[in-house]
């Protein structure tokens, strides 16, 4: 197992390097250059040259690339052009909000999605199955901000159960009230997703030969479904949920925007509006590293659940 973890971590190194290279290229593909993009077309040559020197853009491309790699790998993501604070500090300030949101969404998704998916698979082609399929398809069709807006209209504007705008508050009840709608919004999309994956995975497992073997052994139905069915059905669910993490983060950006919640989403939009390229570049690197990390975690969970992975 330890060897598997080490191997998996080593495998992430080239991915990380390639990701950094891509970010580097992407930023350098900006029409004109980053300095011009930041200061606008009207900027004087002098101020442009000054900014280029500050950003190191006057160096040869190879030198720039190596400096970039050195900075990024050393955790030095630069200083935000708009706020003047280090990028890492900016991110650290809002990251808890985004993590709280995505974690609640996954939790809600697992609590509702797993049982729904299992029931749908066990009652295949009966009404619970049809209902869960229609519900999960609908849930999957919502762009995060659309469902967010509709929920905001229903629960905050008309029913007034929840605040329309999030406000920073140390009060726990207020905190939960602020979190409730956005978390529920993302959580329902997650539920739709997990229901769907669980259903199809469970259907596959129920058709396996070893389920027939278990029936031939006289394993009672409850144990058959939980011990032999669910455990094996969970393996693909874990993987797919891990892969979905990137989309979840993307959705959280929109949801934060709709509910005016602080978080990475708001930070990104601010950076876009201010054309703050150091911040954007840092955010891209941090986001992608995060997704790579989650992928590694997913693989490790996979290895724990499925004995075939780590032994081979």
């Amino acid at each position: 197992m330890t060897r598997y973890i080490i191997r998996r971590l080593l495998a992430a190194i080239p991915t990380l390097l390639a990701m950094l290279t891509m970010v580097f290229v992407l930023v350098r593909l900006v029409p004109g250059d980053a300095a011009m993009a930041m200061l606008g077309d009207q900027a004087s040559e002098v101020s442009l040259a000054a900014l280029r020197a500050k950003l190191g853009l006057d160096q040869p491309i190879g030198v720039q690339y190596l400096a970039f790699l050195r900075d990024m790998l050393g955790g030095n993501f630069g200083v935000s052009m708009s706020s003047g604070r280090p990028v890492l500090e900016e991110v650290a300030r809002v990251l808890p909000y985004t993590l709280e949101l995505t974690a609640s969404a996954i939790l809600i998704g697992a609590i509702f999605g797993l049982p729904l998916g299992m029931v749908a698979a066990l009652r295949r082609n009966a009404w619970p199955d049809y209902l869960s399929r229609i519900l999960s398809l609908t849930g999957l069709s919502f762009p995060g901000f659309v469902s967010g807006i509709l929920m905001l209209l229903a629960f905050a504007v008309y029913l007034r159960w929840f605040p329309v705008m999030s406000t920073a508050s140390d009060n726990f009840v207020d905190h939960i009230r602020n979190l409730a709608l956005p978390a529920l919004n993302l959580g329902l999309i997650m539920t739709a997703y997990i229901t769907r994956v669980t259903r199809s995975s469970m259907l596959n497992v129920l058709g396996e030969d070893y389920i027939r073997t278990a029936r031939a052994k006289g394993v009672p139905p409850r144990r058959l479904i939980l011990r032999h069915g669910l455990r094996n059905a969970l393996i693909p669910v874990v993987t797919v949920v891990g892969l979905y993490f990137g989309t979840l983060i993307g959705n959280s950006v929109l949801v934060e925007m709709v509910f005016t919640r602080p978080g990475l989403g708001k930070l990104i939009l601010g950076a876009l509006q201010a054309r703050d390229y150091t911040l954007l570049q840092g955010l891209m690197v941090i986001f992608a590293s995060f997704v790579i990390l989650v992928n590694i975690l997913t693989d490790l969970i996979y290895a724990v659940v499925d004995p075939r992975v780590s032994y081979s």
Binding site: D209, Y210, R212, T213, A216, K217, G218, P220, N232
Partner: protein
Amino acid sequence: MTALLDIRGLTTEFRVNGHWHAAIQDVNLSLAANETLAVVGESGSGKSVTALSALRLLPQAGARIARGEILFEGRDLAKLSQRQMAKVRGDEIAMIFQEPMTSLNPTMTVGDQIAEVLMIHRGMSHGAALKEARDLLDEVRVPDPGRRITEYPHQFSGGMRQRAMIAIALACRPKVLLADEPTTALDVTVQHQVLTLLDDLKRERGMGVIFITHNLGVVAQIADRVAVMYAGEIVETADCTRLFANPAHPYTEALLRAMPRVDRRADTLEPIPGSVPSITARPAGCHFAPRCGYVRPECGHHPALGPISGAGGSDHQARCILRAKAEEAAWTV
């Protein structure tokens, strides 16, 4: 000899495109203790459906037992609830399958999978059941059973997995073992080891074994009695020695002549024309008539399974008008 398991008039139907079709029709089989009954047939003959029906293991949607009784020690299994049936399975009647690679749960250790049967049916503790599992693996001649019970199926070879399957099946000392093509996926040298093992275990425990296979060679090596199936029906049944010496049904006869043999020069390989009819397209009369070399106009009537002429004192029966005893040449329409 009293029958341990007595299948009477069993008909199982499958739903194909919204209509019910009989996969097996009016199947009668009886099995005594310490007896190996081979059910032999090609794909589509219904031999596996017969075994799965007997243990009520067919998928609940799309398959049903339409008629017939499955009498086990006087009880009709066809009438039991699924819950009662679960108590019989793995305890009094056990089953092993063709695919040793996929028939074991990949996320449970082999020891736990054997122990599970004992815990369910014998109420044993996990520790006691594991100890018993170790002994069972030893009994099916898996080397180093103490280590092996802690391993997962993917660490076992094909032959070893089939031995583990046998250990699971035999854990509760069942009276009847249904073996559905248990050696088909194995190499011949391993097949022979497993066949020998099954035969030894049958003798030691006095089990009745229903052995399902498509391989006439395997039948000849292990069976006491044989039932030949074709297109959902038993077409011939006899004592093993008698069947191979005097096959009565034209299908059995043709099958033996179509099989290339390792022990003699076979320049006389005689193919059977055509192929097995699908479940939705079985002929109205004798199912084998379209492929039969002896076909006559009478074969348009559906023949019954009955004693053959010249059977002597044996219970050699065939489903063929031409081979039936003259006075009993009855047919059903």
